[in-house]
Symmetry: C2
Subunit: 100 residues, 2 copies
């Protein structure tokens, strides 16, 4: 998932790279009410799994997607997207895999 700005006093979103290889990065993100400050346009494909919590994600031209535990999707390179909601009442854990 793209970086997202912390909203108000809820603290920073946590980003942790779990594995980095040429052409592959596996990242764990913990959100807690965070949303994207802007649209993101990435050079690489990204595959996202929502492990825990709940979120909504907008893909440009496709509307909003509701994500619960176990849901996953592919965000192809240069498909603009943003996180429009993550549950403010609990943590949301994402696994994001960026690859060439």
């Amino acid at each position: 998932m793209p970086r997202a700005d912390p909203a108000g006093d809820i603290g920073d979103e946590e980003f942790r790279a779990l594995l980095t290889r040429p052409g592959l990065r596996i990242e764990r993100i913990v959100s807690h009410g965070h949303v994207s400050a802007d649209w993101y346009d990435q050079d690489r494909d990204e595959w996202v799994l929502l492990v825990e919590g709940g979120a909504r994600l907008s893909l440009e031209g496709e509307g909003e997607i509701v994500l619960g535990p176990g849901d996953h999707l592919l965000i192809p390179a240069h498909v603009r997207h943003r996180v429009t909601w993550t549950d403010p009442a609990r943590r949301t854990i994402w696994l994001a895999i960026h690859f060439d």
Copy 2:
């Protein structure tokens, strides 16, 4: 994770490819008391995340590793390994990423 034989009447382990690309395969595995029938020796690196449940994994020469939700590890190519236990009382969900 490697294929594992079902033990007795507990039914088959579930394997589902979530994404397949050249040099990358993301797989979801659901175990329920399943263990590996033998050691596995793979040609590609494998990164494993235990999403839900509990398991134990043996890596040759390194002994047994206990895995709970959120635990992850890299199994380098040709490091022999086997699943020695998964919780028989609930399902265990793995995410396995095979990559070149």
